[in-house]
């Protein structure tokens, strides 16, 4: 169990929430990103995630450091799953603890935005009639971010 890791098995989010809890924490936010069945009217059968694992874990840890420096008193844990994921499976979990709740929300949302910018992980959507590597979510003008 590392605080910043790429995993290949099902994610148990509570493990990461426990990892950030401390007596001085009044608030914990736990975000889980799930495989969604429908995206803009297209039905996803399943997803396949691939990562450049050592760099991805390094970048997840970097995001943790960015947060702990920017928001005093926070502690962060992040895991992302790779391989084949079915509908409703957890792809990513972000746990943030903080003395105060506002920070816990802000820092958690910051983490998911940064993951989508700098962490080398790629998602392939598999539909009934095809498949496609998804990328460049930030630049697609019509791009709908999960």
């Amino acid at each position: 169990m590392k605080a910043f890791e790429i995993v290949t098995e099902a994610i148990n989010p509570q493990v990461y929430a426990d990892l950030v809890l401390r007596p001085e924490a009044g608030a914990v936010t736990l975000f889980t990103g799930h495989v969604r069945e429908w995206t803009k009217g297209v039905r996803t059968l399943y997803l396949a995630y691939e990562a450049y694992v050592p760099m991805a874990e390094k970048k997840l840890a970097q995001i943790g450091e960015e947060i702990e420096q920017r928001w005093e008193g926070t502690k962060v844990a992040i895991a992302h799953r790779i391989g084949e994921l079915q509908i409703s499976d957890i792809a990513v979990v972000i746990a943030v603890s903080s003395p105060h709740r506002k920070t816990a929300y802000e820092a958690n949302e910051y983490a998911i935005e940064r993951i989508k910018e700098i962490v080398p992980i790629w998602k392939k959507e598999i539909w009934e009639d095809g498949e496609e590597w998804i990328g460049d979510q930030k630049k697609k003008p019509e791009g709908e971010l999960k």
């Binding site: 989508k116 590597w133 998804i134 460049d136």
Partner: protein, 77 residues
């Protein structure tokens, strides 16, 4: 020698996930020229380059033993 890694859509274009090449002393920009010559589907700007697991600048010079990765636009989360 340096090792090159390809991921996601780029890996499907190259057909390999990894290869060893003799590009020590070249810049990241020159690596791009080399890659576009070898793989016609490659396009500048279609990926970032990481050297030893950190994003690199076009002017960075590759050294023997470097681990280089082409990072197409990421889509985690």
């Amino acid at each position: 020698m340096i090792s090159l890694h390809y991921f996601a859509g780029l890996k499907e274009q190259t057909g390999v996930s990894e290869e060893k090449v003799d590009l020590a002393g070249r810049t990241v920009d020159e690596l791009w020229q080399w890659a576009m010559d070898k793989y016609p589907d490659f396009q500048t700007g279609a990926a970032r380059v990481a050297v030893n697991e950190e994003y690199a600048l076009p002017t960075d010079v590759l050294e023997a033993g470097d681990v280089v990765a082409f990072i197409p636009p990421v889509s985690g989360g």
